[in-house]
């Protein structure tokens, strides 16, 4: 039996799952065990299409979970939307987890029946940009790539013939490649608001590359892991002090980098230029609504103020759609980057929303998606 707060090293007992998993297959095995024992009705997995493409599917088939894509840096989807209204388990980067929690605050998700296995995340990359980066920076045919990993500040690609090429993330990002912009300034790298927080940071020695560091964050996490151990899907042992220290050191380094990027991206705008700035940023908007559709913290559905107050026939200098969304998301935007990804005219929507939300969230010392104890501050203010 594990306890809340335990920091463990674990892996899947099935040798095949362990060898296919990026870090010993523990996450896959925990999710499969939850399904096997009826803890949940379905599991969200990434169905792998190729190295750069996977699509989220919800499955009730244990074998499909065991065969799923695992963690893929070049598949920047947010899984929170897939959790709504279902009794499921899901893996999740910090932004996936934060999306689910913000939805739970707005009654979009029932957290009692949703299990989240969090994955450490240093950032994700856009698949098309990644392909271009492979050709230009790595001089590698994207079709030859068999795997990738981020380690010690470097992005490493492994080719089918076993060759590895590593380039520092700083160098890649200076050249306009590497992680998506929102990932660079993200300030949550270990998903401590998930039920389990897993990753390869702190996995050292003989198990490096074949085991997962797993922290039990709450009672649900304990239930998940106990269940997986009971059915014999995973084995765990306590992490030693050195492993814990290394995990913390990697996290601190990543957070420091995130803060530096934040300073670079969010340069100040003089008060008198703010309106012009926001008007200009959204001037090319074609009102497709995709940014709302993909937003993992938006639970309004069809009856939303941003669309009700907006009409294409309006002649306002800035559309009500954006005005309402800027305000609405000021207490909930987690900076996941989905809106920027899908914007058909390449408006850096996430950065604009984060820029707007950041001062308000800072002022109230409020970080969205981190816990359920604090309600959205706009809701509190309106009451």
């Amino acid at each position: 039996m594990v306890r809340v707060g335990d920091k463990l090293i674990g892996y899947a007992t099935d040798p095949d799952v362990r060898s296919r998993g990026a870090s010993g297959g523990l996450v896959t095995a925990v999710l499969a065990a939850a399904l096997e024992k009826g803890l949940v009705e379905g599991v969200v997995v990434l169905k792998r299409i190729d190295e750069y493409e996977a699509i989220p599917v919800i499955t009730d088939d244990v074998q499909e979970v065991l065969a799923s894509g695992g963690s893929m840096h070049a598949v920047p989807v947010n899984l929170a939307k897939y959790a709504a209204g279902r009794k499921i388990a899901m893996p999740g980067k910090p932004c996936d987890v934060r999306g689910v929690i913000e939805q739970a605050k707005r009654n979009g998700v029932d957290l009692e029946s949703t299990y989240i296995v969090g994955l450490n995340c240093g950032g994700t990359m856009h698949p098309v940009v990644t392909r271009e980066m492979l050709v230009r920076m790595y001089e590698t045919d994207p079709e030859d790539v068999a795997g990738e990993e981020i380690e010690k500040g470097k992005l490493i690609f492994r080719t089918k013939d076993g060759e590895e090429k590593a380039i520092s993330i700083d160098e890649l990002e200076d050249a306009g490649y590497g992680r998506r912009e929102n990932c660079r300034y993200c300030t949550v790298k270990i998903p401590t608001s998930a039920d389990l927080a897993c990753g390869n940071w702190g996995v050292i020695g003989e198990v490096a590359g074949s085991a997962t560091f797993c922290e039990v964050m709450n009672e649900k996490g304990k239930r998940l892991l106990d269940n997986a151990i009971d059915v014999g899907f995973v084995e765990v042992r306590p992490a030693d002090g050195k492993a814990i220290a290394i995990r913390e050191k990697v996290n601190s380094a990543m957070l420091k980098l995130g803060d530096e990027w934040k300073e670079r991206v969010f340069t100040g705008i003089p008060d008198q230029e703010r309106l012009t700035y926001y008007m200009e940023q959204f001037a090319d908007c074609i009102h497709c609504g995709a940014c709302k559709e993909v937003c993992p913290v938006c639970t309004c559905g069809e009856d939303s103020k941003c669309t009700m107050f907006h009409s294409l026939a309006d002649n306002y200098r800035m559309s009500m759609y954006h005005m309402v969304r800027l305000l609405h998301l000021s207490d909930s935007c987690i900076g996941c980057g989905q809106c920027s990804d899908v914007c058909p005219v390449d408006i850096p929507v996430t950065s604009i929303f984060r820029r707007f939300a950041d001062p308000a969230q800072k002022k109230r010392n409020y970080e969205p998606g981190m816990d359920l104890t604090r309600p959205p501050f706009l809701e509190v203010m309106l009451k």
């Binding site: 493409e53 497709c288 026939a313 058909p344 005219v345």
Partner: protein, 488 residues
């Protein structure tokens, strides 16, 4: 909890945006983002985001007013086609290359050709046709000067990001369209012949489109400009596989536009019309008139993957699977071959069955796909072509009549299909608002010979006396309709 996921392209226009369609076991359809698609990086416009509505209109087979299955519909169609004369066949490119080829084989059996509905090709010398074929969209981003004869925000929204990238790369952008574009450095009311004033050269790019109602003079003039200056032409097209349908055409010499087909029906030169995923009721500016004309046909046979207005007046409807489920390929406006992940072959099988009923050989997907490879795969990756045609004598594009008030339909690929949208308004200029004493938030009354309607309006910088609409309005008689406007 089971669902099927299809990798497909958006049927909205010829850009060919990649996306996923999710289909639940109860038939509900939703869209997901295919971020690895190099054409659009998973991004979609308003039409793409509303595809579940587009795909919600399921088609069912019918013959002689009765619902029926495919076999009965095919037999009924064959019975009408046997011995029928004065047949016309239309496929504008709303389906896969493979189905279009199958339709062309059927046309051979019937001793006719498949028309693609765009009249420009028939009116240009054949040596010009390759210059209307697409070029890689990335070339837009690398152009030095770009002249736009389209409104990309409304007509081809996924071009906007390419144009903005071009602008970041230093391109100078001139809009020659009817509305002022935010992304343009310069908005000028230019006719094609005035392009000569723009100092274009081989680093320049002209973006226009061809659709069923394009004035051939417009394209002739732009081809002349390209010849004189070395500027390149990117010609956008309205339908998902317009480029494929165009490239597959054996000869464009006798190719009829949709308007010509409708005139042929009115004159009695066409008595039987066979349509493959092409609806003249949607495509003609005057909907009610189009229905009247089609009712004059002796035989109206529709092969369709979706319910559309023409189905209601067809004698026979052969229903096929929705586009995203079809096994097959498309060619987008940059000449890129794209493939559906679906494995549906109902459409090809139905056309093959019809062919056999008419006494000819049948065919399967493998055969028609093989024909596609034979015909054109090697031509897809075409190099930047140097103009190899002679300068054309051409008329002038009709100028705007000063003083007269006209309603202009901005031919918009996305609004033909009764999509729920909030673009139910017209654009007019501030001068007209003042002269008609229109009230803020009010409506403008538009009168044409077809009737009267009140519309909300938005103030834009549009040419004096022009009222623009992004949606086909019931009072329109053509793409440009003379109207009277008054405040109400």
């Amino acid at each position: 909890m089971k669902e099927s996921i299809y990798t497909t392209v958006c049927p909205g226009c010829s850009i060919g945006c990649g996306l996923y369609i999710r289909e639940s076991d109860k038939g509900a359809v939703s869209v997901d983002f295919l971020k690895s698609s190099p054409v659009n990086l998973g991004k979609l416009c308003r039409f793409g985001m509303r595809l579940p509505h587009y795909y919600s209109r399921l088609v069912s087979g019918k013959a002689e007013g009765q619902d029926c299955g495919t076999e009965d519909a095919v037999r009924a169609a064959a019975s009408r086609l046997k011995g029928a004369g004065k047949i016309a066949m239309l496929s504008v490119g709303n389906t896969t290359c493979e189905e279009h080829i199958a339709f062309m084989k059927l046309a051979e059996t019937l001793g006719t050709v498949v028309h693609t509905g765009i009249p420009v090709y028939a009116q240009l010398p054949p040596e010009c046709h390759p210059h209307l074929e697409g070029m890689p969209f990335i070339d837009i981003e690398n152009a030095e000067k770009i002249v736009l004869f389209i409104d990309p925000y409304v007509q081809y929204p996924l071009l906007v990001r390419r144009l903005l990238a071009a602008k970041r790369n230093g391109a100078y952008i001139i809009s020659a369209g009817r509305t002022e574009l935010h992304l343009a450095h310069e908005n000028r009311k230019l006719s094609p012949e005035q392009c000569a004033e723009l100092d274009l050269d081989s680093g320049s790019l002209i973006i226009t489109d061809v659709h069923p109602h394009t004035d051939p003079c417009h394209i002739q003039q732009l081809l002349n400009i390209a010849l004189d200056t070395g500027a390149r032409l990117q010609v956008m097209k309205p339908f998902v596989n317009s480029e494929g349908a165009d490239r597959l055409a054996k000869s464009r010499a006798g190719m009829m536009g949709i308007s010509q087909i409708m005139s042929g029906i009115e004159r009695g030169d066409i008595r039987t019309l066979v349509l493959l995923d092409s609806d003249p009721v949607e495509l003609m500016p005057d909907t009610s008139r189009a229905v009247e004309v089609l009712k004059k046909l002796e035989d109206l046979i529709v092969i369709s993957s979706r319910d559309s207005p023409v189905n209601a007046i067809a004698d026979v409807v052969i229903a096929t699977e929705p586009l995203y489920r079809k096994k097959g390929t498309f060619i987008n406006a940059e000449g890129k071959l794209q493939e559906n992940s679906g494995q549906g072959i109902d459409g090809i099988d139905a056309i093959s069955m019809l062919s056999r009923e008419l006494g000819a050989d049948g065919f399967d997907h493998r055969q028609v796909h093989g024909y596609l490879h034979e015909r054109m795969i090697e031509t897809l990756a075409s190099e930047n072509r140097k103009p190899e045609y002679c300068r054309m004598e051409c008329g002038t594009v009709p100028a705007q009549q000063n003083g007269a008030c006209t309603l202009e339909y901005m031919y918009n690929p996305f609004m033909w299909f009764s999509q729920p949208d909030d673009n139910g308004f017209v654009l007019l200029d501030r001068g007209m608002v003042k002269s008609l004493r229109l009230k803020k938030g009010g409506t403008v009354r538009l009168d044409s010979e077809k009737g009267s309607m009140d519309m909300r309006y938005k103030v834009e910088k549009v040419p004096e006396g022009t009222i623009l609409t992004g949606r086909k309005l019931p009072i329109a008689t053509a793409t440009v309709t003379k109207i009277k406007a008054e405040g109400c």
